[in-house]
């Protein structure tokens, strides 16, 4: 599948399909159901300095063509992640992207410093846009200035790995945020994280989620994600990783045609654990049918 082989920020990928953070656990959860060696990369569940308990239940609910989640970034913490989760990924031939977050700039810096020296980690993805934690997260994506601060602070301590910043769609205009990432040394941006939404249980007359609001994902957000990928693509020169509602090779192709250099598949992993590999197979067949030697030839083709 040479048509799909690619280099992202200097890192070789066998294909541009990456399992999105928060939907693929620490990777091994899916081992029984799919060939992890075929997936381009895995972005693991967002890691923080300390173990995080997450939000009270209920944490998820289905909505029309989508789902809301308010997991609250439950994770084992960076130390346990390196000791207990990462070694199991050693034998798997795929790129490991570690999504990380903090409640303060200092926490971001601390986690980044630690991860920067972990051999098995290929790239870092900064989560500045989780809508489900009360402190931090969202506030860093409240203004391009706040975002610049945290990105440049992390950039200073990340010396060995490419840095991706995952953008929030919960802003009036995503373009200045993408620009802030590029200006402060990010190597790539991923767009988009979930959109803030809500659902109400009419029998109980209360919000379905204990957190009241949650992040909307799934096919419902795909048109918004595509529009934002296009806007970011037109704004920055660094690669854009498209994410939001991808559930088939066709969806992935739409993102590439809108400017994505790689794509992440999230919620669709829940419906079909093999979807990442089916997507790369489908993309390959599509390119073959279209007589296109390499997918990079069509990046942004629909919006140029």
């Amino acid at each position: 599948m040479d048509r799909l082989k690619t280099s992202l920020c200097g890192i070789e990928f066998k294909n541009p399909i990456i399992a999105a953070s928060g939907t693929f656990g620490y990777g091994l959860e899916f081992k029984r159901f799919t060939d992890l060696n075929k997936i381009g990369g895995i972005s693991v569940k967002g890691i923080s300095l300390h173990e995080t308990e997450g939000n009270p239940m209920p944490r998820i609910t289905e909505t029309y063509s989508g789902m809301l989640n308010a997991i609250g970034l439950q994770n084992v913490g960076v130390e346990k992640f390196i000791k207990e989760k990462l070694p199991a990924l050693k034998s798997i031939d795929t790129r490991i992207i570690v999504n990380f977050w903090g409640k303060t700039i200092d926490e971001y810096i601390e986690v980044a410093k630690i991860l920067d020296y972990v051999e098995r980690v290929d790239m870092l993805e900064m989560n500045i846009s989780c809508p489900n934690i009360k402190e931090g997260g969202i506030s860093f994506s409240s203004s391009p200035e706040a975002l610049s601060q945290v990105v440049s602070a992390c950039r200073k301590v990340i010396k060995n790995k490419p840095l991706i910043v995952k953008l929030s769609p919960n802003v009036q205009d995503i373009k200045p945020f993408a620009k802030a990432c590029e200006d402060n040394g990010a190597d790539a941006v991923s767009a988009i994280n979930t959109l803030i939404g809500m659902a109400v249980d009419v029998e109980r007359m209360k919000p379905v989620l204990a957190n009241i609001t949650g992040g909307l994902s799934g096919p419902a957000i795909k048109p918004i994600a595509l529009r934002m990928v296009k806007e970011v693509y037109e704004t920055v020169k660094i690669p854009v990783i498209g994410v939001g509602g991808i559930g088939s090779w066709k969806d992935a192709a739409e993102f590439i045609l809108s400017g994505a250099s790689a794509v992440q598949i999230g919620t669709a992993n829940f419906i079909n654990a093999n979807i990442c590999n089916e997507t790369s197979d489908g993309l390959n067949e599509y390119l073959e049918r279209k007589n296109i030697n390499h997918f990079s030839e069509i990046i942004g083709k629909a919006v140029k």
Binding site: F30, F33, E53, M57, N69
Partner: protein
């Protein structure tokens, strides 16, 4: 992975069961495990009811087929209830832990409502192991009691209860269970959380161990999404467990019921 509908049998306007062909799931030897199924057949790419739904493996009917008991409660189960023979569905499974039955012990199975599903497979397993099959099965009224004649053939002793007294004993499963609880070395239960909590209380009072099978809203069914967390009291600490892969069966006396009953 796919499962093909062999037969869709409607029991009433609210209940029915699918016979599905999927050797990977039908080969399951233990009772109490479950699988996830997409409510839409895979003939068209429909994303409306997006997520897979968890269902207990109800009865293994051949080397390749098993059944899935459904109760129509929302859009997903409504669509699933209209499945036709030959339809293919995306499935994941078998998933989760299972009931660990021990030879030569006197046990009772407790089912409430749709919680009957894993108990059918459990009854088969107990009989296979030569253990007397006792089932307490409660519902709101007569129309909620499913497959009565069939249950008589797979159980040695069957206690039916209905809240309104329209069939069997008047009241909930606790009414007959209270009388006999001392006869059992272990209880296995599946049903609404309030019932499970009440049965657990009764077991605790009598120092009888109990395993409960819990139902929680699930996203992935593989332990990745962390959407189905159950809080368990372990060594004076509250520990978060994933219902899908660390459950669905838990020691009832350790479940933090307050966090489950909302």
């Amino acid at each position: 992975m796919k499962a093909t509908v062999v037969k869709n049998t409607r029991i009433s306007d609210k209940f029915g069961y699918l016979e599905l062909k999927c050797p990977e799931i039908a080969k399951e030897k233990n009772a109490g495990r479950f699988f996830m199924i997409s409510p839409h057949s895979d003939s068209v790419y429909i994303t409306d009811t997006l997520l897979k739904r968890p269902f207990a493996i109800c009865d293994i009917t051949s080397e390749e087929t098993f059944t899935c008991l459904y109760m129509i409660t929302g859009r997903g189960t409504k669509i699933l209830s209209e499945a036709l023979p030959g339809n293919n569905f995306l499935v994941t499974g078998p998933i989760g832990n299972f009931f660990r039955f021990e030879k030569d012990t006197s046990v009772a199975l407790i089912a409430g409502g749709i919680g009957l599903a894993p108990m059918i497979n459990s009854a088969r397993k107990l009989r296979e192991m030569g253990i007397k099959v006792t089932l307490y099965y409660g519902g709101r009224s007569k129309s909620d009691i499913l497959m009565y004649d069939f249950l008589q053939t797979i159980c040695d002793e069957l206690f039916i209860t209905t809240d309104d007294g329209s069939l069997g004993i008047h009241g909930n499963v606790l009414v007959p269970l209270k009388e006999n609880i001392q006869n059992y070395k272990k209880i296995y239960a599946c049903g609404p959380n309030r019932m499970l909590q009440a049965v657990t209380d009764l077991c605790s009072q009598n120092n009888i161990p109990i395993d409960v099978s819990l139902d929680e809203q699930m996203g992935c069914g593989v332990g990745a999404c962390l959407g189905c967390i159950i809080t368990i009291n372990e060594n004076n600490e509250k520990v978060k467990k994933r219902c899908c892969v660390e459950g669905p069966i838990f020691d009832g006396t350790k479940v933090d019921w307050d966090s489950l009953i909302r």
